[in-house]
């Protein structure tokens, strides 16, 4: 296939789609699927066909739309009416009323059970209105398994642009200009990473997509891979062109079978159209992608451990330098980017680095996808400009804490992050601000807790996680996390002393300073941040010590 063919596919798909008056998307993201959206999709297709409306209405299974706990969701376009908790019984009524009589059913609209009056156009609902979708733009609106659906929405246009109008140096300059930073957690400038790999001379280079989303409480990468796999694939190919790699690996968690299936299908259909493989679009650039399935080791999110895992070994990290950019997979220069980072590439190329850099804050440009969950009314997948306040996310988008309870804490960054207390609800969410509060941006898990959460137990929960997931290679992490876990358990069981608390603080510093990789270095973070904001809870546990009456030091 050549460039002209890509345009022809886009045009003919567009002409075909334009024949329909309506597009109805049934969310088939992981959340809605488990609420039964597959049956709803089938029923809807049957209903539309039975009424002879299949020439007017196009029914499409789509990726995640966002408000996961209201599922199964059905979106009617172009009205942008979203129906929630749709089931096989009420789908006929939706077709009759919304699609035939053009009369929305208010009781079934999104958030009808919690808002005084639901919005007929869901885009006007604060849940969506406050969001800015760049990465998730097409997620929830296209069929992730049909490549034409992506092509019609400017898919692979960026790849075409870089291959025929830009040199690798220009691509890197554009990414640098966008000020995009790695969305996997650490926030390293993506353009600089690309440039480093580009500069190394080697017979073989690799691009790796890190889809080993291991943080508990995070499902951003999963939703992107499931909802719009071609966007990630296109980002990988562009990265390959820019750094001079012709082989890519997508490392995806084994826990995400649907993401693996959809990404596999995406690779297959892209290869069929010549958008992957030899001489892409008739250019001299060739690029191929293979999937590697993760086997459930959190440490494999760390880049050197991930590389070991792709090489078929135990996923243990090694000291850096050399960094993977110099010596990565099989000793060759390797670029590793997170799913969300790669999904941000195509829009940056299409609209320009300047456009992207104007979104967000001066130091943290662009948007960030968050997985909003826990004690929150509207949990789900959201994308907001960097710098939005936590308060806006929790109250305007998330609809606040349910059951009339008080917001207590927001946990970001998973087991490597920390807790943000109520007094910092107005923090503008960007990389630097979160670090200054003792947490990290992380990959985007955002768990809201109310006053029923015991923060010492929260610290213990994360420490248990790090202890289990420590690969065992270095002593500070292997032994330190276990010691901290034991001390935290002791305090939780009301057997702790002031001395234990001092010991914990001391250990936290050792483990942070002396561990080999990010897992150990950040393992004390949840402990340190809860100590910083909720020390009184630790002290309360200690004061209620039942074993050592009258003894203040154990």
């Amino acid at each position: 296939m050549n460039r002209q063919d890509l345009k022809t596919i886009a045009e003919s798909a567009k002409a075909e789609h334009n024949q329909f008056k309506h597009k109805v998307c049934v969310c088939c993201g992981a959340g809605c699927l488990s609420s039964g959206s597959e049956a709803v999709l089938k029923k809807l297709q049957d209903e539309v066909k039975a009424r002879g409306l299949d020439k007017e209405i196009r029914v499409v299974p789509s990726g995640c739309m966002g408000p996961c706990n209201q599922g199964p969701l059905v979106k009617v376009m172009p009205e942008y009416a979203i129906y929630q908790k749709v089931n096989c019984e009420n789908i006929a009524a939706v077709v009759q009323s919304q699609l035939v009589e053009k009369r929305p059913i208010e009781d079934l609209l999104l958030f009808a059970d919690s808002r005084p009056k639901p919005y007929v156009n869901a885009q006007e609902d604060p849940f969506f209105k406050k969001q800015l979708k760049v990465v998730l733009k097409d997620c929830g609106s296209i069929n992730p398994e049909i490549i034409e659906d992506y092509i019609v929405r400017d898919g692979y246009k960026a790849l075409d642009k870089v291959l025929f109008q830009m040199s690798p140096e220009e691509v890197i300059a554009e990414i640098k200009h966008s000020r995009l930073r790695g969305r996997g957690g650490a926030g390293f400038p993506t353009g600089i990473k690309w440039e480093t790999v580009y500069k190394y001379v080697a017979d073989q280079k690799y691009v790796i997509c890190n889809g080993d989303e291991g943080d508990p409480g995070a499902f951003m990468d999963r939703s992107v891979l499931e909802g719009n796999p071609h966007r990630v694939l296109e980002g990988m190919a562009i990265a390959g062109y820019a750094v001079g790699a012709n082989k890519g690996y997508a490392y995806i968690r084994g826990e995400y079978p649907l993401a693996i299936k959809r990404f596999e299908a995406a690779i297959k259909s892209a290869k069929k159209l010549g958008l992957l493989g030899a001489n892409i679009l008739g250019s001299t650039f060739s690029f191929d992608i293979e999937i590697r399935i993760g086997a459930g080791a959190f440490v494999c999110g760390e880049e050197t451990a991930l590389i070991a895992s792709i090489e078929g070994k135990r996923g243990t990290p090694r000291p850096r330098p050399p960094f993977p950019a110099e010596s990565g997979l099989w000793g060759k220069p390797t670029l590793i980017n997170n799913v969300e980072t790669l999904a941000s590439i195509a829009p940056i190329i299409n609209k320009g680095g300047e456009w992207y850099s104007e979104i967000g804050t001066p130091k943290s440009a662009g948007t960030k996808v968050f997985a909003l969950a826990g004690k929150i009314n509207y949990s789900g997948l959201i994308e907001v400009p960097m710098g939005m306040s936590l308060r806006e996310i929790v109250y305007d988008i998330g609809g606040g804490v349910p059951g009339g309870k008080e917001f207590k804490s927001a946990q970001t960054g998973g087991p490597s992050g920390g807790c943000i207390p109520k007094e910092h609800l107005d923090v503008k969410m960007d990389y630097e601000n979160l670090v200054s509060l003792g947490s990290i941006m992380g990959s985007g898990g955002l768990i809201i807790m109310d006053d029923s959460s015991d923060m010492v137990d929260v610290a213990r929960f994360f420490m248990e996680f790090c202890m289990d997931e420590s690969c065992g290679k270095c002593v500070p992490c292997r032994v330190g996390t276990k010691m901290m876990y034991d001390l935290l358990t002791k305090i939780c069981n009301r057997q702790g002393t002031r001395h234990d608390l001092d010991r914990l603080e001391e250990l936290a510093v050792y483990v942070k300073e002396a561990s080999l990789c990010g897992l150990g270095m950040s393992a004390p973070n949840p402990l340190l941040s809860t100590l910083r904001y909720y020390k009184n809870e630790y002290l309360a546990h200690i004061e209620r010590n039942t074993t050592l009456e009258g003894v203040s030091h154990g």
Partner: protein
Amino acid sequence: MKAKKSILDENLSRNDPRIKQILAKLKKESYRPDALIEILHTAQNSFGYLPMNVLAFITKELKVPPSRVYSTVTFYHFFSLKSKGEHTCLVCTGTACYVKGAEHILNEIEREFQLKPGQVSADNKLGLSTARCIGACGLAPAMVVDDEVHAKTKPEDVKNMILSKIGARV
């Protein structure tokens, strides 16, 4: 120890459909040792877990030391050396599920079925495990019974949910 003629048992030959799947995967990966994890995934999909004789078979086919295979298998949570039971129940213990009370679900299962995470019932009918996060945080607390995800699980519903799958009391 008596030397075995064949790495595989008498009742498990190269014609076994499950072994055939592994052989097909080995061929697809050109018998490259670096594809070990991919091959282990295939083997576990075929057998439900990784029996020792199958590991020995893979070791031989890939021409790698047994220690390499065994250490890799035991490193990753995903791989299991034991049968997981005819029916599996997986409780998500990710952060969102933790905040929303996954512990109560586990307690209920322990009370009803006398199973702790990682255990399989005596009749091999039901296996219980936990996951670090299945990425269904919007639906917390989540539980997966035989690949079917249950959202917003209530402890009181757990018993019937499991019984309806396994057919009878374990």
